[in-house]
Symmetry: C2
Subunit: 131 residues, 2 copies
DNA sequence: CTAAATGCAAACTATTTGCAACGAT
DNA sequence: ATCGTTGCAAATAGTTTGCATTTAG
C-alpha cells in the first residue's frame, strides 16, 4: 500500500460519509494531500478489488464508496443525496428459496426523505403559509 | 403519442426482454423503423415519466426499460447480462418498520448465473477436462 | 536499476440537450 | 401559421486508460 493509498484509506475510514470519488478528491485537497483525480479513482478501485471497501451504486447518482465491507444495505435521501447504512439482515436465503436457484448477491437500496430534510421541508411549508 | 412513440411501445411490449436504449434502437432499425438515437432516449424517458414503463438500473450496466410497471424486482445474470423479473412481494412495510420512517420506494436487484449460463459453464469445464 | 505508482490529457460509455428542419393540425 | 417532434451534432457526467515521468525499494 502506497503512501497516497494509506492517506486516502485513513481519510475515508475517519469519515462517516459515503463519499463519491469527487468528494474524496475534494477532501484530499482540503487535507493538503496532493493527488490527481485519476489516482483517486485508481486507488478507490483497488480498495474495492482488494475487498477493503465497497462500491455503492444508486440509480442516477455517481458511485459512492463505503468503508464498511460487512454485508448491509443502503438508504438514500432523495433531497440531500446522503447515503446511510441500514441493517435489514441477510435476505440471501429467502431470495434463493423464492428464486429457486443459487444467487451471487443482491443490492437493496431504499429511497426516502431523511428526518432532517423532512423537518426542513415542513418548515419551508410553514414559511409559505405565513407569507 | 406520436407514430414513432407508438411503434416503439409496440415493439417493447411485444418483447420479453429488458432492453437497453441501444437495443431498442437496434431493434427499431431491424424492424425498419427509422428513428434517431436521441429520439429513442427521449421517447423512453417520456414513457418512464408517463408511468407506462420503468427504468431498471443495474450497477455497471446501462439502464434497461421494463414494460411491466407493477412493483416487482429484477434478477441479473452476470454472464449473459440478461435481466428478468422476479416477484419477491412487497418489502415496503418490513423496511419501514426496520428503518422507523416512511420510505418512498426501494430497488432490489439480485445477481446470479442463470440456469442456461450455468449449463454452458459446466459443459465448458467438461471440454477443458477432456482436452 | 527496475518495477510500480502517479499525473495529465485524451478516450470512453451512457445519456442529455440546443437548435434548425420537419410535420401535423 | 404554429407548435410540438425529430435528427444531428455537440455537450455533459462519470469513469477509465495510454503514456511519459516520478518514486520507492
Amino acid at each position: 500500500m502506497t503512501k497516497l493509498a494509506a492517506e486516502m484509506l485513513d481519510l475515508i475510514r475517519s469519515s462517516e460519509r459515503h463519499m463519491t470519488a469527487e468528494e474524496v478528491f475534494m477532501l484530499c485537497k482540503e487535507k493538503g494531500i496532493k493527488i490527481s483525480f485519476a489516482s483517486v479513482y485508481r486507488i478507490l478501485t483497488n480498495f474495492v478489488d482488494d475487498g477493503i471497501m465497497r462500491k455503492v451504486s444508486i440509480p442516477g447518482e455517481p458511485d459512492r464508496f463505503d468503508k464498511t465491507v460487512r454485508p448491509h444495505d443502503h438508504i438514500f435521501c432523495s433531497r440531500c443525496k446522503k447515503v446511510c447504512d441500514i441493517d435489514i439482515g441477510d435476505l440471501t436465503e429467502m431470495l434463493e428459496k423464492k428464486i429457486g436457484s443459487r444467487i451471487d448477491g443482491y443490492t437493496l437500496s431504499v429511497k426516502y426523505i431523511c428526518p432532517e430534510c423532512r423537518r426542513l421541508e415542513s418548515s419551508e411549508a410553514e414559511d409559505k403559509k405565513s407569507v
